[in-house]
Structure formats: structure tokens, C-alpha cells
């Protein structure tokens, strides 16, 4: 359902994405891994237009994103963003809204769903991420793990066809990582399409169907997750995974 064709992005002299072509099928969970600065997050952010790109195109369902950013793609972007949710490393919960307020904001004001109906569904989503008891809490009153689970519920509230997750557990205290991964595992089991930029190799191996390794703005290796992570072919992948160091 998401097609990336020859996607290029250049920052001055530096090529961040060097012509990436990839395709993500419905219901698939795909892990994007690789060393820092390899272009994983940039690729993810190009998919819903938070970053503009300089060449190639992205197709999501019927909508096409072209180089040139928000000016060119305004109409397509708004449709794409309503169909593809995003979860950030730093959660980015709306600081002036409660947990429930964060979840129902977009359904009410973007989709025009009546407040009562959105609230009912918002509560169900909070229950699904195990936070029914925190619906009245403000972001600054919650732990990182709780905030990230609210952020996932907020993204799900728009009924997205796919979810983009940008290092969803990197900013969490180690003891909080598990609760977020549990939620993501459950979503994967339900068949939600997800693209996850992650450093959690165990999660990538056990939950995702496919793994893409990005390095220097190129996909240097891809395949079924277990195969890529347990027995990578590319030496840089091996180095990144620490397999050559014994």
C-alpha cells in the first residue's frame, strides 16, 4: 500500500537518501534498522511529508507525494496524514490537553466526529493501551511509557491504514520499554500495517515480518526479519549488529 520510488534527499553536500525504492504491503510490519545517520528516520518522515524530498516519489493508496514539500503536496498530504498515523520518539503529546483530550482532538476537529462518540472511542483506545485510569492526566503528570502509549492511542484514533513509528522506545527508561513494545506487539497481531524505525533488535526479530537495513542513505540489505538479523549477508550489517565481534 506504500510505494517508494527512487526517493532522494540531499542536505547541502550530504546525500541523506540516495534513491530509495521500496514497497510496503498491507498488514506487514516492517522494521527499519541501521546505524545513526543512515537515513531511517528521514525516510519515515518523508512518507507523511514532515520532510520534503528532492527526487523520486511516494505513493500511498491513490495519493502521490512529489518533491517540493508542503506547497506542492498540500491536498495530498492532508489526505495521506489522515490515513497514516505517526508516533514520535519524544511522544509530542499536546501539552495543554489531558490524555483523553489528546486522543479525541483530531477525530473531533479533523474528522468532525461528535464529541460524545469520539470520547467513547477515545476511552476504548486508552483501555486498549492499558491507561483507562489515566484519562484525566496531563502529559507532564505521566511517565514516558504512559505518554508513548497515549501517543499510540492518539494515532489509532484516526483509524489509520498504517502507522509510522520513529524510534518509539529510544527515549524511554529501560524499565518502561516493555510496556510500549507489548502494545505494539498486540497491534501487529491484529494485523495493523506498521513501519518501525527501531534499535530494539529483539522486537524487530520477533514482531516485524521484514527488516530493511539502511546505511548511508541506501538500503544495503533487506529480507525476512529473522534471516536479516540472525544471518545478515552484508558486512556492514554484521558490523552494526555486532556479529563479527566475538
Amino acid at each position: 500500500m506504500i510505494e517508494v520510488h527512487e526517493l532522494r534527499k540531499i542536505y547541502g553536500e550530504r546525500t541523506v537518501l540516495g534513491g530509495i525504492t521500496a514497497s510496503f504491503a498491507k498488514g506487514q510490519v516492517v522494521a527499519l534498522v541501521g546505524p545513526s545517520g543512515g537515513g531511517k528516520s528521514t525516510l519515515l518522515r518523508c512518507l507523511n511529508g514532515l520532510e520534503s524530498f528532492d527526487g523520486g516519489q511516494v505513493t500511498l493508496g491513490g495519493d502521490v507525494l512529489l518533491p517540493g514539500g508542503a506547497k506542492i503536496n498540500r491536498a495530498a498530504l492532508q489526505r495521506v496524514r489522515q490515513r497514516v498515523g505517526m508516533v514520535f520518539q519524544q511522544w509530542n503529546l499536546f501539552a495543554h490537553r489531558t490524555a483523553l483530550g489528546n486522543v479525541i482532538e483530531a477525530p473531533v476537529h479533523v474528522k468532525g466526529i461528535p464529541l460524545a462518540q469520539a470520547t467513547e472511542r477515545g476511552r476504548a483506545l486508552l483501555a486498549r493501551v492499558g491507561l483507562s485510569h489515566r484519562e484525566g492526566a496531563y502529559p507532564h503528570e505521566m511517565s514516558g511509557g504512559e505518554q508513548q502509549r497515549v501517543a499510540i492511542a492518539r494515532a489509532l484514533a484516526m483509524d489509520p491504514e498504517a502507522l509510522l513509528l520513529d524510534e518509539p522506545t529510544s527515549a524511554l527508561d529501560p524499565e518502561r520499554v516493555g510496556e510500549v513494545l507489548d502494545v505494539l506487539g498486540a497491534l501487529a497481531a491484529d494485523g495493523l500495517t506498521m513501519l518501525v524505525v527501531t534499535h530494539e533488535m529483539r522486537f524487530a526479530r520477533e514482531v516485524s515480518h521484514r527488516t530493511l537495513v539502511l546505511h548511508g542513505g541506501q538500503i544495503i540489505e533487506e529480507g525476512p526479519s529473522k534471516q536479516v538479523i540472525d544471518d545478515p549477508k552484508h558486512e556492514r550489517t554484521r558490523a552494526f549488529l555486532g556479529l563479527d565481534r566475538k
Binding site: L50, M86, N92
Partner: protein, 490 residues
């Protein structure tokens, strides 16, 4: 301008309490110094004392000629000292100069406060109206209930008191501009002023002269001998024809001035009349002050109510608008922050009068509001930029449009960050609103300066005025502090 004379006035009030009484007699002091220091205001303009632009800004005017002639008679040299016109008398009392001579009219209030010499000029209070307005007759009673422009604290304003609605001005050009525009029904001012600033306007006509008044030299009460010496000097230059020659050379001579040449002790008594001992500062003044405070508060609140949305629009346009509009918003901010609000008020009220004829209060609200919008815009811009970028990204990634993301996510947070600054700006605005007295609005500070002249003292009105500003601003200041503390906690 107004604020300056207010501060000066307060300072003078404090100083004069401690009394800096000259030990020498006035005349001996002048003779010993060899200099007669005379106070005036160059801004009073032609023909009194002004800078001659054709001769490198040299001082000129009939009062300059007169000062030179009188100093010569006393055997000394004349030296001009610049002083704000409205502060001439307190500055004289303080001893900055020996005499005040700059169209100082003999009024009962002033008679009770300083010594006056025999007059050096007799003026008529000239009533002018629009050519097509036949309701105005050359009698004071025809002005009952009408809006009449004049200078603050002038002889003319004394005549109008209790009869007409007085519209007080600080300059001589503005009353006639407003009369042409229909903002007032008539202007009553000294004939010298009317001849130069009113009569050249084809839309206006002279209705008539209502009463005679006198320009006289003011001397400190303790300097009795200086006053007598000046009286003799004026008598001598009258008799010798020099006074007439000076007045003729400056085109201010007319038949009225013949009385100067035959001045008697009876004339003097009639001129001085009964000295007003000054009104007592009482409840009626407190009520006037309260009214002034209401005007100040109302003006400030309305101006802020305009500045907030306008500033918000400017900030958002500057940050998110198309390039051309963004530049325009930036230019607006720089223009309004980079020029004095006093000038902006002038342009809005007098400069644009031929195009948009605003009343004084709407002009004041608009002028202050547009000025403060520039400051608010910068406060909101800082507030918007202080909201983490992730908030906007999260909103956009949920499918919100940019305006919706701003309205629902970024601006509510930016507003909370901006509230303390906005409150501080409002407190500043309360005080800046005193500037609107230049466009005839009588607010708290103007009321204070008017009352100070009425009761011949700055201390009490000044203190009350300060107290009222404080009572308005302190609660706001407390509120801002509490808000700030609450924001710091969350």
C-alpha cells in the same frame, strides 16, 4: 511632552517645598551677574520667540527684541533660557531664570502666585468659527454647551470655564486644524495666534474679539525691586517709542497697544483684579481625577483589546504567511516600534484628518492599539517559537491543516507563555496612554496638570495621580506574578 512636564512639575514641587530663597534682592542679583536670564519656550513659535531658520537658527521674535531692550535699560545683557511653556512659572519659582516672558497671560491664578510687571502687549481673545456656521456669535453665551478649542490653562480657557465644553490643546496649529475638520465648533485664542494660524485658513472666519488680556513679565514674589525696575524700563521704552517700533517691526502693533503708552496705576489694578487664592483641593477634584482614571482605564483596555488580535495576526503572518505578507507584517512591526507613539498619534489624528476624520477617543484607541500591536506581535512570535516543534509536527501528522494546528495546538500554548509579558505590556500601556492628551483627550495625567494649575500646586495632584496609576497597575502586576509562578510550576 506631557509626561515630561509632569515629572518636572513633581520634581519642582518637591524642590520648592525646601525653598531656595535668594538671599540677595532680585535687582542686585541681576546687576551683579550682569545678565538678565529670561525664560521662554521656542516652541511657542512666531512671533514670540522662535528660531530663524534663514539665519542659522538664531533666536528672534518680538520678545527677544524686548528682552534685549529691557536688559539694556537695566545695564545688563539678556540671556534666553529654554523651558517648557507649561512649566514656565514653576521653573521661575525654582530660580532657573530671573523672569518669565513668553506670552504669559495675566490670569487670577497666576496673579496669586507671581508678581507681574506692567504689560508689554495687549491681546484680544479672538473667537473663530467655520465660515458656514452661523450659530456662533461674538458673545460668550453663544458658546454655551459648544465644543471650543483653546490652549490648556490659558486666559481664554478661563473665560470658557463653566460655559463651553473646553477642548484643551498643547500647540497653536492643532486647534484650527480640528475646527476646519469639524471636531470643534469654535476656537478662542489670543489674536496674535489667531492671525497667524487661524485666519489664513479659508474655511474659517473671525467671529469677534471677546475680551482683552495682557502679556506681562512674571517675576518671583520676593523680587519686588526687580519688578519695579522692569516697570520703569517698560515705561521708558514706551515713552521713547522703542516699544512701538519693536511691535511694529514684528507686525503685532495695533490700536489696542496705545493703552500701553498711557498705562496708569488704575489700569494696573484693573489688570490684576482680585488675585485668586487658588481653589482648595477638594472632593470635586477627586471626582475629576476618578473620571480621568476611568478614561485612562477604558482607553487602555480598548487599545489592548485591539492590540491583542492585531498582534496575533501579525505574528502568525510573519511566521507562517506567504513571503510578501510576512515581510509586510515585519515592516509593520519595525515601523511602529521604531517611531515614537506620539508622532503616530499626531499623524493619525491631524495628518490623516483630511482623509479619515476620527474623533479623539477612537483615534486614541486606534493609535495606541496599533502601536501596541507591534509589541504584542513580538511577544506572540517569541511565544510561538517557544512551543516545541514536535507539537506542530504531531498536529500536522494527525491530518490537521496549518491553521487548525495553530489554532488548536500551538497558539493556546504560546498564549500561556505570553500572558505575563502581555500583562506587563498592559501596565506600560496604562501609563503610555497619557500621551493621548496631545490629541485633546483629557485622561488622568492631563487632569492632573489642569488641576495643578487651578490649585497652584503640583504636590497634591501629583501624588493623587501617582496613587491612581498605582492602584490600577499594582493589582495587574500581582496577577502577572501569580500567573508566572503558576506557569513555572507546571
Amino acid at each position: 511632552m506631557n509626561r515630561i512636564c509632569w515629572v518636572v512639575g513633581l520634581a519642582l514641587a518637591v524642590l520648592s517645598c525646601h525653598g531656595q530663597t535668594p538671599t540677595q534682592s532680585g535687582l542686585a542679583r541681576v546687576r551683579a551677574a550682569g545678565v538678565l536670564r529670561w525664560g521662554g519656550d521656542i516652541q511657542g513659535g512666531e512671533p514670540y520667540v522662535y528660531q530663524d531658520s534663514e539665519h542659522g537658527g538664531r533666536l528672534t521674535g518680538f520678545e527677544v527684541d524686548l528682552a534685549n531692550a529691557l536688559a539694556r535699560e537695566l545695564g545688563v545683557r539678556a540671556q534666553f533660557v529654554q523651558s517648557d511653556w507649561s512649566a514656565l512659572i514653576p521653573t521661575l519659582e525654582r530660580g532657573t531664570f530671573d523672569i518669565a516672558m513668553n506670552g504669559v497671560e495675566v490670569t487670577p491664578q497666576r496673579v496669586g502666585r507671581v508678581r507681574f510687571t506692567r504689560p508689554y502687549y495687549i491681546f484680544g481673545t479672538r473667537l473663530m468659527a467655520r465660515r458656514d456656521d452661523t450659530r456662533i456669535q461674538p458673545t460668550i453665551t453663544s458658546l454655551r454647551g459648544r465644543r471650543v478649542g483653546t490652549l490648556s490653562n490659558s486666559f481664554s480657557s478661563e473665560l470658557l470655564r463653566g460655559v463651553a465644553e473646553i477642548v484643551p490643546y498643547e500647540g497653536v496649529e492643532e486647534p484650527y486644524i480640528d475646527l476646519v475638520q469639524g471636531r470643534t465648533d469654535a476656537v478662542l485664542l489670543d489674536d496674535i495666534i489667531a492671525t497667524r494660524y487661524g485666519e489664513p485658513k479659508p474655511e474659517l472666519r473671525v467671529v469677534g474679539d471677546l475680551a482683552d488680556g495682557f502679556y506681562s513679565i512674571a517675576v518671583r514674589p520676593v523680587d519686588g525691586d526687580l519688578q519695579q525696575a522692569l516697570d520703569h524700563a517698560i515705561e521708558r521704552i514706551s515713552a521713547s517709542g522703542e516699544l512701538e517700533r519693536i511691535l511694529r517691526s514684528r507686525n503685532v502693533w495695533n490700536d489696542r497697544q496705545r493703552r500701553l503708552l498711557t498705562w496708569t496705576e488704575d489700569d494696573r489694578r484693573r489688570m490684576l483684579g482680585t488675585a485668586s487664592t487658588g481653589q482648595r483641593f477638594g472632593w470635586s477634584h477627586v471626582v475629576l481625577f476618578a473620571k480621568g482614571a476611568v478614561v485612562t482605564m477604558l482607553l487602555s483596555a480598548l487599545a489592548m483589546a485591539l492590540a491583542i488580535p492585531l498582534g496575533l495576526g501579525l505574528a502568525v503572518t510573519r511566521l507562517y504567511g506567504p513571503r510578501a505578507l510576512s515581510r509586510l507584517a515585519g515592516a509593520y512591526v519595525e515601523l511602529y516600534r521604531g517611531t515614537p507613539v506620539l508622532l503616530q498619534l499626531y499623524v493619525l489624528y491631524y495628518g490623516l484628518a483630511p482623509i479619515v476624520k476620527l474623533d479623539a477617543i477612537p483615534a486614541a484607541v486606534l493609535g495606541l492599539g496599533m502601536n501596541y500591536a507591534a509589541y504584542e506581535a513580538e511577544v506572540y512570535r517569541a511565544g510561538i517559537q517557544a512551543v516545541p516543534r514536535g507539537q506542530m509536527e504531531a498536529a500536522l501528522s494527525l491530518g490537521m491543516s496549518l491553521p487548525l494546528a495553530l489554532r488548536r495546538v500551538v497558539l493556546p500554548q504560546a498564549f500561556r507563555l505570553a500572558i505575563p509579558s502581555v500583562t506587563n505590556d498592559f501596565i506600560a500601556l496604562l501609563k503610555d496612554s497619557s500621551l493621548v492628551s496631545v490629541i485633546t483627550v483629557v485622561e488622568l495625567t492631563k487632569q492632573m496638570t489642569i488641576t495643578a494649575v487651578d490649585i497652584r500646586g503640583w504636590a497634591l495632584p501629583g501624588a493623587l495621580c501617582a496613587l491612581m496609576y498605582f492602584l490600577m497597575s499594582y493589582p495587574l502586576s500581582l496577577w502577572a506574578q501569580r500567573l508566572e509562578a503558576r506557569l513555572a510550576r507546571s
